[in-house]
Amino acid sequence: MRLYEYEGKELFAKFKIPIPKGKLAQTPEEVEAVVAELKVPVVLKSQVLTGGRGKAGGIKIANSPAEAKNAAQQLLNLKIKGFPVERILVEPKLDIKKEFYIGVTIDRANYKLVVIASGEGGMDIETVAEKSPEKIFKKYYDIDEEMYGFDAIDIAKKIGLGSEQIKEANAIITSLFRFFKKYDAKMAEINPLVLTGEGKLIAADSRVSLDDDAVFRHPEPAEMGIEKRHEEGEMTPREMQAKEWDIPYLDLDGNIGMFPGGAGFGIMGNDFIHYYGGKPANFMDSGGGPTPERLAKMLVLLDENPSVKAIFGARFGGISRCDDFAKGVVMFLKEHGLSKPMVVRMTGNMWQEGVRIFEDAKKENPDNFKNIEFHGIETPIEEIAKRAVELARTAGGR
């Protein structure tokens, strides 16, 4: 889960990493009031869960409360890569002498934590990494290793910090590392770490992403008002609905509703539809062992989407059982009804029970099933994908 800059900074402050004395504001009036209490000039920083904010005009400088109010108005009308600006972090403008980069992340392929540092901090760090890799310094740690101060000092010196700054740098770098481990972060960046004209180091920006799967053991961010959220990206209303139901879901621009089993075939099935000339309307993951209720909700998302002309269903029962799958579909048909044609293949664990549930429900109300074509293991999944493309073409007139 990605954090806003101000949230990351609040957490940094808990670890005694120095941050500018800023304040969050949500309206031009709030911004004006905040600036009245700060030293001008100030920086107004749009809080959005994406990069490239600076280039998109999401950062403004103001020399008075009135000027800041005006600038805030402009920012709050801005969208950055589709993200509306709703919050502004107001900070005194720093006297920047030099910018550094410090980050911690996970090298998954090698099962290590990595501390990354560079004397060329600022917006173009990825370009630096690509074009001048010698300017990027990395240090690897085993998951159960501690980072000592001397390592931090070593890093600080390698990226060009002087003897005067190494004690501060030591505190900042070891704190960032401790923060990373303590809160199960996937990424924690200070970019830039600013050396001010006065010779102080300060974390001018934060970029933090936490491991969603470890949130359960960290009550503190929630206590600070940091809510659980997707990695990043603006959500469509349907994605919002899916999120509320805790279903991984993405709208795509096609017309075939994808009702797959696990994420693996969710991704692969998308390719298959393309191979056969169709375009999926969504990506979806049922998660392991979904309940009938959850499966019914997944179908609601598809049936109520006007872009969806046909539904491609696939269930290979593993941890998710075919009987539950059938129950979910039947529940959906009873409570909601299916308005689109659907082709489904069902096999795997408990498929006999699944088939029986379908047959019983069909006997009870054959009308509910008139839009559905059922297949078992005898039909290759590729044929089902082809059929879904055909159904969508017929229904959508394409």
Binding site: D144, K186, G317
Partner: protein, 288 residues
């Protein structure tokens, strides 16, 4: 012959008294998997499906001679269960649950490497050597004994690939689900090398997907292996994924698109497949 599991495997189910544990223990037993016992702290002395339940993996291994563990426990308990199984002396740990915290899995991996134990998962469907041993949640209907090994990050893809191999008469030597979590107990290359050593395995189908970092690690193995590898990567038409920020880009390089991954593997000598139906076609050409 097979890799990782066969009819001699002595399987312990960690979390055997839970809903999923009990359900799949029964299924695995019905398949013929040699389940020798299970664990559930506080329920030692009871039994499930006629198999003894122990409080600890140490006791289970000592009493039953278990050499393989499959974990059916909520994600927060997986770290300790896996490390316990490793220290108790099993040689293989299969982690079925998903959403294992990354740092937990890194610790488990470190412990596994130290003790020379193979950990598979988390978020894996398991491992099956058809006709001998089915560990995890894989539906037996898809599988038949045969001569092609499979390794995949996704459970459903494993089933579809096996389903195709079964229908076309090749069958499978062993099918391994690496797992779908971001950090995994084992990587493609490690499993490929096991297949290379296995006499029964005449070809390997490796299926990966967009994102992640483990497909790229397979390049060297594919180059050096004598056993042919068929590679299939999901997500060729997926919308571009999102990066976690600069640090990720610096460490992992440009995130491999599915297309790039497939190209890299093909360049190393793997035979690319687009759909499952391509697989038997390629096997025919390879005269497997």
């Amino acid at each position: 012959m097979a890799i990782l599991v066969d009819k001699k495997s002595r399987v312990m189910v960690q979390g055997i008294t839970g809903g999923a544990g009990k359900f799949h223990a029964k299924r695995m037993l019905e398949y013929g998997t040699n389940i020798v016992g299970g664990t559930s702290p506080g329920k030692g002395g009871t039994s499930v499906e006629g198999k003894p339940v122990f409080d600890t993996a140490f006791e289970c291994v000592k009493e039953t001679g278990a050499d393989t563990s499959v974990i059916f426990l909520p994600a927060p308990f997986v770290k300790e269960a896996a490390i316990e199984a490793i220290r108790a002396g099993v040689k293989l740990v299969v982690v079925i649950p998903e959403h294992i915290p990354i740092q937990d899995m890194m610790l488990v991996r470190k412990e596994a490497v130290k003790h020379k134990v193979t950990v598979i998962g988390g978020n894996t469907a398991g491992i099956i050597t058809p006709g001998e041993c089915n560990i995890g949640i894989m539906p037996d209907i898809a599988f038949a004994p045969g001569r092609v090994g499979t390794v995949s990050r996704s459970g459903s893809i494993t089933y579809y690939v096996a389903d195709t191999l079964t229908r076309t008469g090749y069958g499978e030597s062993t099918c391994v689900g690496l797992g779908g979590d971001p950090v995994l107990g084992s990587t493609f290359d490690e499993i490929l090398w096991m297949f290379e050593e296995d006499e029964k395995t005449r070809a390997v189908v490796m299926t990966g997907e967009i994102g992640g970092v483990y497909e790229e690690r397979a390049v060297d193995a594919i180059k050096k292996m004598k056993t042919p590898v068929i590679a299939m990567i999901g997500g060729i038409f997926a919308p571009p994924g999102k990066r976690m920020g600069h640090a990720g880009a610096i460490v992992e390089g440009k995130m491999g698109t599915a297309k790039e991954k497939l190209e890299i593997l093909a360049a190393a000598g793997a035979h690319p497949a687009k759909t499952f139906l391509d697989i038997p076609e390629i096997l025919k050409i390879l005269k497997v």
